[in-house]
Structure formats: structure tokens, C-alpha cells
Symmetry: C2
Subunit: 373 residues, 2 copies
């Protein structure tokens, strides 16, 4: 698998060029409304003084850093605002690899392809910890794979592509494994607002100088194209404090700083959006999960129970999730998913469906019709 | 000099904490109005559909790429939209260094510190070509310094910090030097709209597979904090075509994509802003240049004649441009500039003043009073 060029665009292109109506369940871009305060914040910024259009601090808008630090219970000096979770993960993986003694980055299979691509351009060895049959991470398996060679362990809960959420015991155990092996645990928590099983535990709940947490407003505010994310590093004055200093330098020399219109509007939305916005999104997605899983049950497909995020990964009888079969599903059923093989070995026979279309019910009906034939 | 942490923020902080009124001429952030159409474009975007808030193509908004390609006379496949000129230079330097055979990056002294910092984190050897006494680049000197070990030559015209502009003959000669040494010429042209001597020549005027041109709307539209820039690479299907492919991959794995609100508003502004906007900015800056150079003449300072950009670099009699002397100028004269030593060896005795404040005349008066005493 060539992880350096993630394959999402290939499948989206095929679906958009198909000679029929297709329900697109490929990408992870929300289809729902952002918070109303986000639009307000951008309107207000559009009328700001010229001074507010210039460079902010390299690490991000001071008030937004402060707001994030207060909400996450960390110090402002631990927070760097990034160009989405993408850049946050890039900084954390690169500087984790350069700073910690090992030469290996430990990923989970199935893997979000960008993690694997990053490990590759960094020049790190990537190893893959398989999940258990239910799609969860068994800390004993992580402990088997981790060792002195491990520099960074990357986890993602709620998980893309599986839709599982790791519980607090797992999180605590994996932090300990990172500590024992002089590695850092990088926890990408971008789906933290999409927790249907009340199971999500942030790595920030475990105090440790071996943790880095990344996040963004891309999914929670339905703005994947705005690129406002952040990383929380170990305190710069404590153990592993050089991680933050090095990430700051790399961020400055790569991007100088992030885009201020987006950061300013996100700050306004953070301050003026209540829990009911996030609750309504979860309700919408719960309905979609019910529709798709009912269809999957109906055709005898195996699937991972969705506890978080907004993906369902399924295996259909005698229909492995290859690129060819995914293209056939587009042409013959009018439903586009992502081939399991794009996410590694362990779920190569599966297909991932992103529940970010108002037509999940249509897709469910089409899948039932196609697989019943 | 530790180029990994550019020193602009240090001086700005000192100036802002001074116990008196200070005219800030440290940073390169414009103080004038952006194009009216930029504000309009952002208002329109704030009311867009949720779909327009999601991931665009990794290489940037298709219509903006198209617009840039048409304006620059290149093909769309050569253009990548970046998080400001900063990321464009980062991609070009990193992939130029990785792709071309040499191990050295050739910079000009005095140097814009971010170039030097980037060479350092890439792990390249940096060499510095001195400018001549007038601040210009002599191609014969570049030829002396370049060799088989050179992978990337970085130039910046109109130039920060000197304010000089290289003529067409220089540009052509430096492209040839890059070709002869199997290197790429990276030309940062972010000040192209600030050309007072009608002397500016883009490297795009010289057809070559050894050129990379970077630019942004940060200065021309007075939006340094928005982060919309671009790079023009050699055609992906021609010689050195792998530079573009590698830059695309690095951009995708670093940032995923740029911030869409900013790119969308810039596209609207590009399409709806006439030459009179840029002309008015040049007139404003010409007046400021006259005010400051008259004062410098008055106190017998030596300075580089400003032909482009918006900086004046000057040497005062018996007052070298160290950090200490710059801080004394803040405290005693109420004028903040950037120490020459922040830009390398050859102008270490000089001080750079950025003409991005409406109070240039006040600064001129204060400098005259201080140095006459």
C-alpha cells in the first residue's frame, strides 16, 4: 500500500464520474450546519481593522489558546494551534520521532492512512498493532509490540475507520506502556464529540509527560476545510519539555502561523455555542447509524458496532472490500464507500461507510437490494 | 546566530513593553486597508452552504489555482496553493534539497532569517553569497559560490531586508547558474507589487525547468495573517517534474490543505480589484520612503536606496545595529527597527526599518533629533 498518496480522492473521483446517481459515503466531511455563531464570527471578522488581518503569534491567536487551555485543563504554554489535526499530528509525530530514543512509530491496524504516510516521509519504521475481533485495542497486544525501539505510539479514539471508542482503562494502560518504553503516546481525539456509548476518555485524563493530544474543530463544528486544530504537549518546563519547543520551531518554519479568519471565527463559536448544538448532531448521527446497521443486519453483513465517530465498517458475505468491488458497488448499487484495503491488512475485506450524507437511508435500501439479489 | 527562532518577536515585545511611545517599524505587517472586495468575499463565504466549509482539493481551491495559472502564464498542474509564502518556501527548499544532487543551499547575505532557519531544520549546509556595496546581487559572485554541491539557490526580489530589486539581466544570469549546477533557483517574489523603480523581473519570465517561484497575497492585499500563498513548480511531466509531485505529497501530509475561507475571499478579491488599489499603496509607500530617507540624509546615515518592498536599511555613524543599540533606540528615541545582525554578517552594523506605520514622519523626526544630539 502506498500510504504517501491517500486514496480518498481516487474513490471520490470515481463516484463523481459514475454514470448514475451515487450516495457518497467516502470522505469524512460533515454535511450538517456549522454552529450559527461560527458564521457570525466570520462576518464580524470581515469588518475588522487592518491590524486584525496581520500575523498573529506563530502559536496561534492568544485568546483561542487561552480558551483551549482552560477547557482542557492544561497550561497555555502547552498548547499550539495548528492547521487542523493534520498539522498537529505531523508536528507530534515528527518531533516525537526526533526526540524520543526509538526509531519506530507504532500504529494501529486498521490505520488512518495519513498516519502511515507521515511515518513514511519522516523516515520512521512503522509497525502495526492489530485490533481485536470487536475492533478494540487490547493493551496487552500493544505491550507486546512496544519496546525500546518505539518512539511514538499513535491512537485515535473515537476511531476512524472502525467507529469504536477505547475505554478509560485502555487509555490509562496505553499511557503506561508509552512511559515504560520511553516513548510518547499521541492521541488524536478529533471525534471526541461523537461518543454515542458514553465511553470516550481523553488521554488528558491521565497525567503524564509522555502524552500528546491532538484535536480540531473540523468535525465538531463541521468545518473540515477551515483548518483549525491544536496539539497539547508536555509542559515545556518539565520532562520531555523539548517536544513543545521543537514543535513550535517546526510550526514557525513550516507555516509561520495559521489562518486568522478561521481561528477568530472558531473562537467566537466556541464561546457562543451551547451543548445542544453537539447533542443535535449526535442525534442526527444516531438515526443514521440505526438505518445503516439495520440494513447490514438484513443482508447478513458483519460490522463493527459504532460507538463513536461517524463511520461503519462492514464485511459482506463473499464480497471483499477491494478497490474493484468498491467501484462495482458504485456502478451497480449507487453507494460509494472506502475499500478496507486502504486502511491496511486486518480489515482488507471490509468496506468503510462515512455517515455524512442526508441519504443514509437511501444507501441502506440500495445495499439491501444489491446484496439480496 | 540562531536562525531557528527568528528574532522579530523579541524586538516587538521589547518595543511594546517600553515605558514610552514607540513607532514600531519592526515587523513587515502592512497597516493599510485590504481590497474592499476581500471583505465582500469573506462576507459572502460566511453565508455559504455547509458543503463549501469542507475539505477542498489538497493543492487548493480549483478556481484559485486556475486564476493564478492564467495570471502567471503557467499550467494549473504547476501551481500549489500554500499556507502563505512561508509554506511555499518550506516545500520548495525541502523538496529541492531532497531532489537535486547537492547538499548545500545557497542563500544571500543579508538573509531573511526564515530561509536560514529552514535550511537548518532540513539539515542542509547553508552558504551565503554577499551582496555588493549597493545591496544588489552580482551574478559573477553567485557563480563563484555555486557548484556541484549546490541544490537550491534562494533569492528574494524585491528584497527583504535591503529594499533593492534585481534587474532582468541578473534574474536571467542566476537561472543559468542554477541550470549549470543542476540546482533549482527558488525565487520568493512576495513583494512583486512593490516595485518603485520599474525594475522588477519575475523568474517566470525565464523559461527553465530549474526554477521555482513563490508568492502570496500577504503583502499585496495587506493580509499577512490570512496565509494564502502559492508556489509554481517545473511542469510535473517535464524535467525535474518530481519536485511538484513531492511537494504535493509533503503538503498533503503536513497540512492536508489550506484554509478555505481565506482562499475563497482572496479569489473574489483577485477577480474584483483593479490596478488602482496597488497603485495607491505604492504612492503611500513612496511618500514614506521620501520622509525616512530625507531624515537619514539629514543625520549623515548611509542607506540602501529603496527600489522595492517596504524596508529601508541604514547605518548610522558610530551606532552599529546590535540588539543593544536597537533597544536603546527604542528607549531613547522611541523608534523600533530590526537589528542588522538578525539578518547575517554583511549588514550587522545596519538597522532595518519597515515602513508599515502611518507614523513614518514621526519616526523620521525622532531619528533626526536623536542622531543630531
Amino acid at each position: 500500500m502506498d500510504y504517501e498518496t491517500p486514496q480518498f480522492f481516487r474513490v471520490m473521483k470515481y463516484a463523481s464520474e459514475a454514470d448514475r446517481d451515487v450516495v457518497d459515503m467516502v470522505s469524512g466531511s460533515p454535511d450538517w450546519e456549522p454552529p450559527e455563531a461560527l458564521r457570525e464570527g466570520l462576518h464580524t471578522y470581515a469588518d475588522a481593522t487592518p491590524g486584525e488581518f496581520q500575523y498573529q503569534a506563530s502559536v496561534g491567536l492568544p485568546e483561542l489558546r487561552e480558551e483551549i487551555a482552560a477547557r482542557r485543563g492544561v497550561e497555555r504554554s502547552q498548547v499550539i494551534i495548528t492547521n487542523g489535526t493534520g498539522e498537529a499530528n505531523h508536528l507530534a509525530m515528527t518531533e516525537g520521532y526526533r526526540t524520543m530514543p526509538g526509531e519506530e512509530i507504532l500504529l494501529v491496524d486498521p490505520v488512518y492512512p495519513y498516519y502511515a504516510g507521515r511515518a513514511s516521509i519522516i523516515g520512521a519504521d512503522a509497525s502495526y498493532v492489530p485490533v481485536d475481533e470487536t475492533g478494540h485495542l487490547d493493551p496487552d497486544t500493544v505491550a507486546e509490540y512496544a519496546g525500546a525501539e518505539t518512539s511514538v505510539i499513535v491512537i485515535n479514539s473515537p476511531n476512524n475507520p472502525l467507529g469504536v471508542t477505547y475505554d478509560a482503562d485502555t487509555i490509562r494502560a496505553v499511557v503506561e506502556i508509552a512511559e515504560e518504553n520511553d516513548a510518547v503516546l499521541l492521541s488524536d481525539e478529533v471525534y471526541d464529540h461523537f461518543d454515542y456509548a458514553d465511553r470516550f476518555a481523553s488521554v488528558l485524563s491521565v497525567d503524564s509527560p509522555n502524552r500528546i493530544v491532538t484535536n480540531a474543530y473540523s468535525k465538531s463544528m463541521a468545518i473540515t476545510g477551515w483548518r483549525v486544530g491544536y496539539a497539547v504537549f508536555p509542559h515545556p518546563d518539565g520532562p520531555n519539555g523539548e517536544l513543545m519547543e521543537r514543535a513550535r520551531t517546526r510550526h514557525m518554519l513550516t507555516n509561520v502561523t495559521g489562518s486568522r479568519p478561521a481561528q477568530t471565527a472558531v473562537l467566537h463559536a466556541l464561546r457562543n455555542t451551547g451543548p445542544e448544538y453537539y447533542e443535535a448532531t449526535r442525534e442526527l448521527l444516531t438515526d443514521r447509524i440505526e438505518a445503516i446497521t439495520a440494513a447490514l443486519d438484513g443482508v447478513g453483513a458483519e460490522y463493527t458496532e459504532p460507538e463513536g465517530a461517524f463511520y461503519v465498517m462492514a464485511r459482506f458475505p463473499d464480497y471483499p472490500g477491494t478497490f474493484d468491488n468498491v467501484e462495482r458497488l458504485i456502478d451497480e448499487a449507487g453507494v460509494a464507500g472506502m475499500p478496507g484495503e486502504a486502511f491496511g491488512q486486518s480489515r482488507a475485506e471490509w468496506i468503510r461507510f462515512a455517515l455524512v450524507t442526508p441519504r443514509v437511508e437511501t444507501a441502506a435500501e440500495r445495499l439491501e437490494a444489491f446484496f439480496h439479489e
